[in-house]
């Protein structure tokens, strides 16, 4: 009886030990990864400014990240704008504040939803492709081939992608904001019958250019984040086609989580900055 209890207790002890051990290991991996990803990012950014400058590559990747995401961003933007404004309209109707639907939607879109959704969509689309492409090059020895040709593979493959994402993301976010607001306008004014003049007037009153900038800055940061994480994953791919799949998967998932978490902190940091600078 006692020995049975002892055995069970041993097992429980072990399970608890294992649990903490695994948390500990995860934390270690997380920190070491964060460190090496940050290092990878810093190095790649440095290499943007070292010769030879790779304008062709940069343009190519901007086209890929930016141009080719345009349609899906517009589609998402339009529907998000409409859905959000409809919900907010329904809520504000209860308290007789429908006049404020416009600015509420505008602030929500430009500060939060625009950059976050743009980030998530482009991370999934372009980030996944980056990880897969670089991962394939790694496992088929193309990166080795680059290096033995005396070409810095990071400078050739990674830096242009990070720069392209950094430039393209704010542009896409701007498009998202514009299309989403157009969608909101269409739904509120044309469908729900809000007064057009009031709608725009209130937006002008409450929406500051600074709110739009806030979103654009966020999206540029997200661009650097997802492109760094995905290229890092691809660059360090191991083990054949399966490895490429894993790299793509983890790259996209990490990017999405990081974007959402970073967004929260950036919101706070920007608020704090405004407070310190005395901006209302």
């Amino acid at each position: 009886m006692i020995s049975a209890w002892m055995r069970t207790r041993d097992k429980i002890d072990k399970a608890i030990d294992n649990f903490f051990l695994s948390i500990w290991q995860t934390l270690i991996v997380l920190f070491s990864e964060t460190g090496s990803i940050a290092f990878f990012c810093a190095e790649s950014i440095k290499q943007i400014f070292t010769k030879p400058f790779r304008f062709d590559e940069i343009i190519k990747h901007m086209e890929f990240v930016g141009n080719k995401s345009l349609l899906i961003i517009m589609l998402t933007g339009a529907f998000t704008g409409m859905a959000m404004s409809y919900q907010i309209y329904l809520g504000f109707e209860l308290v007789n504040a429908v006049n404020l639907v416009g600015p509420t939607v505008a602030l929500g879109i430009t500060r939060e939803l625009g950059p976050v959704l743009t980030g998530l969509i482009v991370a999934a689309r372009a980030g996944g492709a980056m990880a897969a492409r670089i991962g394939t090059m790694r496992v088929s020895e193309q990166i080795d081939a680059l290096e033995v040709m005396g070409i810095d593979a990071k400078q050739y493959l990674v830096s242009p992608r990070i720069l392209a994402a950094f430039v393209a993301m704010p542009l896409l976010c701007g498009v998202f904001d514009f299309v989403a607001m157009t969608g909101a306008y269409f739904l509120c004014v044309k469908v729900l019958g809000l007064d057009e003049a009031i709608f725009w007037d209130k937006i002008q009153l409450w929406l500051n250019p600074r709110d739009i900038n806030e979103g654009l800055i966020k999206s540029a940061v997200f661009g650097v984040l997802f492109s760094t994480i995905c290229t890092y994953r691809g660059y360090n791919t191991k083990g054949g086609a399966k490895g490429v799949g894993e790299a793509t998967n983890t790259g996209v998932v990490y990017s999405m989580v990081i974007i959402i978490v970073t967004n929260f902190f950036m919101t706070n940091i920007i608020r704090f900055y405004y407070k310190v600078m005395g901006i209302k």
């Binding site: 088929s140 033995v148 040709m149």
Partner: protein, 251 residues
């Protein structure tokens, strides 16, 4: 005799338990063709990657052209590699570039003041030298056969007229006529660049003994036997004998 590559007590393990290369000592003479033979999976490709500085040794020292690879900074290593040309075992062509672009690429990168015409002309000549027909120049690597890819890889390795050329199984997967052609090519390329060193990893014993002046046989991560043709035929190591016997019987 000067050595192009000097390797002192090289050890390599990928997982910390199983040693792929074990206490390997090897000097590769400058200005000659050295062939490396050995059974599949004995670490020949891994050895080549060490010489290229693509893989870090677990312990040991590697000097290439008199320079210690471990002492070089990453930038120096990258510059240094311009002296090397490599044909990878699976060719490792850039799959988003056409055949011609693949060969042009290293030239564009390192001969930045060249005219476009000159670059294309050089690349086309290298491709023709390696036996590629012009009608394939604008195909993508995925549209080529394995042997054709090898030849493009060879042309790309030769593009910059390197001082040390490394070939990882250049003839595996080619038909006998092409095999002979590539062997000839290795020799003529070598003769055309006096002082250059070629290192050829091969399964093909015929080529190993015809092409190479200096032959190294690897086994279980170390050097089993090195020397010239006679050393090998006079050797009484059973493994060498069976390797020679089986290899030549096949032909």
């Amino acid at each position: 005799m000067k050595n192009a590559v000097e390797i002192h007590s090289l050890n390599k393990t990928f997982d910390g338990m199983d040693y792929v290369l074990k206490n390997l000592n090897l000097n590769i003479p400058e200005g000659h063709i050295t062939t490396i033979i050995g059974f599949s999976g004995t670490g020949k490709s891994v050895l080549l990657k060490h010489i290229l500085g693509l893989v870090q040794p677990s312990s040991g020292r590697i000097c290439v052209l008199g320079k210690d690879l471990a002492a070089m900074s990453p930038e120096e290593l990258i510059d240094f590699r311009c002296h090397l040309g490599v044909l990878f075992q699976h060719a490792a062509l850039f799959d988003d570039m056409t055949v011609l672009e693949n060969v042009c690429f290293p030239i564009i990168e390192h001969r930045r003041n060249w005219e476009t015409d000159a670059i294309i002309e050089t690349a086309a000549r290298k491709l023709k030298d390696s036996g590629m027909e012009e009608k394939h120049f604008h195909k993508l690597p995925s549209e080529l056969s394995g042997g054709q890819r090898k030849r493009v890889g060879l042309a790309r390795a030769l593009a910059l007229d390197p001082e040390i050329l490394l070939y990882d199984e250049p003839t595996t997967g080619l038909d006998p006529i092409l095999t002979e052609m590539v062997d000839d090519l290795i020799r003529t390329t070598h003769d055309k660049h006096p002082g250059s060193t070629s290192i050829v990893v091969t399964h093909d014993l015929h080529a190993a003994f015809n092409v190479g002046n200096f032959i190294v046989m690897l086994d279980k991560g170390g050097v089993l036997l090195q020397g010239n043709r006679d050393t090998f035929f006079k050797s009484d190591i059973p493994l060498v004998q069976s390797f020679l016997e089986k290899g030549f019987k096949k032909e």
